[in-house]
Structures are given as C-alpha cells and as structure tokens.
Symmetry: C2
Subunit: 207 residues, 2 copies
C-alpha cells in the first residue's frame, strides 16, 4: 500500500481537525464542513476518506468520534516513536521548544551536537551527547527516527555516521541540502527556504 | 501559467544545485547527474527543464552557467522581497538566525510580537513592533510577505489584523493550524508536525 505523500498530509490534517471537533462536542461533520475548515474541496475529502473505507451518510456526514478513531488507528505508531535530534542550534532548539513534537505518539529522547559546551548537559531536560558517539547512543536508546538540524555543510557527514546504527528507520532532514542514505532508511526533507521560494514564485506570478 | 507546486519546488532545487556546480567550476551537467545529486529521475529533470524551454544536448547535457541564469530569471523577484515576521518565539528566532532567509532576493525587514519585552527593541538587528500596529508598519515599510510563527491559537487573530494591510501579497504560515485569508493573498503552510507525521506513517508501513 503506497499512499501518496499529499494524501498522508491531508490524513494528518483530518485527524487533527476531528480531534478538535470531538473536543468541542461536535457529533457529526460533513465533507463540505471539513473541506471549508481545511481549505480543501469537499470531493477531495470524500475521496480520501472513502479510500480508507469511510463513507459518510448522504445528507448527514461522518460520525466525528468514529472517524477520528479510524484515522487514529491508521496514524498511530506500534509503540511511541523514540526520536533523536542532531544539531542543537537555533532551529534544533526551536523544535525542542515546539510542543507539537512531544506527544503520546513520539518524543525527542536524546540530542547530539559537536559543541563541547552542550555535550554532557541537558537541554530542555534532554541529555546531549557528542555526535562521535551517535551509533552507540542510538542503539542503547532504541531510537527510531533522527531529526537533522545541522548546517548544510555538516549534513552528509552526520548522516554517514548515523545511518550505520541498527534500528534507525527514518530521518527528517531540515538541512537545506540533499542527503544520501541507504535504501532501507526513509528520508523526508523539510526545506524552509524552498517553501519560501515557492510562495515567492507564485506571488511573482500574480503581480 | 499555473505551475504545480512540486515543479516549482524542484525548480528551486535545480537552481540551488546549478549555483553550487557553477561555483565549483563545472561547465556542463547531464540530467542523469542532476537527478542523482537530487534523488530525482533523469527523465523528471529533462521534463521539468524542457517545460521552461531548456533542452539539453544529447550526450553532452546542459550548459551550467546558461541554465543557472535561465532559472535565476524565472525565480528572481522584480525587486528584493521585503518580509515581516510575526511572532518572535523559538521558531521565529530560529528563522531570524537562518542564513538562507537573508539573501539578495529577500530579507526580513520588520518583526511583530505582543511581548512588551521585545516590542521597541531590535532582535538580530531588526526592529520589533507591537502586533497592534501591524497595518501601519507594514504599509510604511512596503512589506510584501509575512512569515507567521505564532502559536496556533493566536494565528487567525494575527492573520485577520494583517490581511487588511495594503500591498501584502502572501503569508508563509508556520503555525500548525489552517488560516483563512481573502482570495487575493497567497498562503503557503509549512507544518512541521505534519511533515513528521508523514515520515512516521511511511516508517510504520515498512516495519
């Protein structure tokens, strides 16, 4: 089952919206309403949800709690994902302070840096180790996923040292550069300057 | 000319790669080589570039400097984009310290916050104003684009106060929530937790 990235992203948005509606006590929701709240077409919402076996009742909509639980099953991990963060600079610190990154589903357990003022200390209550010991620490802590927030010129070196670790499954790469990994490790890139340039490209088109 | 978002994102990556190859003194590059360096198929590279009128020479490739200049023309703004950042918290500060956000093409000129310890001061050398004065300051400073890095629960209120400003063209939204804007303003969302959940979804699939 290979599902398109954009579909997964929308699934996450539906899940988040349903959690909010459920908390507000709403019992049913239509595809129109979901679409409006998420700036999506109602037909897109129906198509996505029917793909995962959910068919709303015509003229009524979807049962909020039931749909939420269904999406929660799809998105929930087999156990809480254990993450490590490499590079405790500006962006790394921002992610550490970002509440959405510490949930029942995943949390940052360990940090790596090469700055000796950070190594050996706790930052936001999380222990920081030297990147040279990454493999041992990743193995010992059963880390599933690494969040990479190092400068471009350090990214591939860091990646080369962590991809050898047993059990590592994925990397979320915030460095504004492409990284090369073995086939069995998944990589997603969050390239903030690409997102900005995309917006600016379209802004230029409408001027 | 409505070009798909994914195509624009790849265009930004080609442009960045060509700048690097050019700086390294490389004269020609094949679609195979570009594809390999960016983890894309060579056929995708050729298709994208031919759409913008660039046809490589069979068995030779593309002229690095010429292709770079062509993409630079497409991506360059009519003048340097002037940006404002709303919400100087962890993530906002990270973006301010992010070198890729201050180039010849765009830069952050003003900041907004509601924290009276920040308002009236310069942060990273950039003046910070109270969000209540956003419209006047945005107008006076000819701001084109706003980068929104406020908590979810403050996002729509901030948006409502800035979308009334003359001349504002786009918003890059980092708040993990959907925002509603008038039709003439473009919005791009960079939702870091959605990116993380996408990665985790696929990691779960391969376990």
């Amino acid at each position: 089952m290979k599902i398109a990235e954009a579909t997964v992203a929308r699934l996450v948005l539906y899940h988040r919206l349903l959690a909010k509606l459920h908390a507000e006590g709403q019992k049913v929701v239509s595809s129109q309403e979901m679409g409006k709240l998420l700036s999506l077409k109602a037909s897109q919402v129906r198509k996505d949800l029917s793909y995962f076996g959910e068919i709303g009742k015509r003229g009524v909509g979807y049962h909020v709690a039931k749909l939420y639980e269904h999406l929660d099953d799809i998105l929930s991990p087999p156990q809480k994902w254990r993450m490590g963060l490499v590079g405790v600079g500006h962006l790394g610190s921002a992610l550490l302070g970002y509440k959405a990154f510490d949930t029942k589903k995943y949390g940052i357990e360990i940090l790596f840096d090469n700055d000796l003022e950070k190594v050996g200390n706790e930052i936001f209550g999380i222990p920081c180790y030297h990147i040279d010991h990454a493999c041992r620490i990743i193995n010992e802590n059963n880390i599933d996923v690494i969040i990479l927030t190092v400068p471009s010129n350090a990214a591939q070196d860091c990646v080369d040292s962590i991809v050898k670790c047993n059990g590592l499954k994925g990397i979320l790469n915030f460095s504004p550069t492409s990284i090369i990994v073995p086939e069995d490790i998944l990589v997603y890139n969050v390239d903030i300057s690409v997102e900005l340039e995309k917006l600016l490209f379209y802004v230029k088109q409408i001027m």
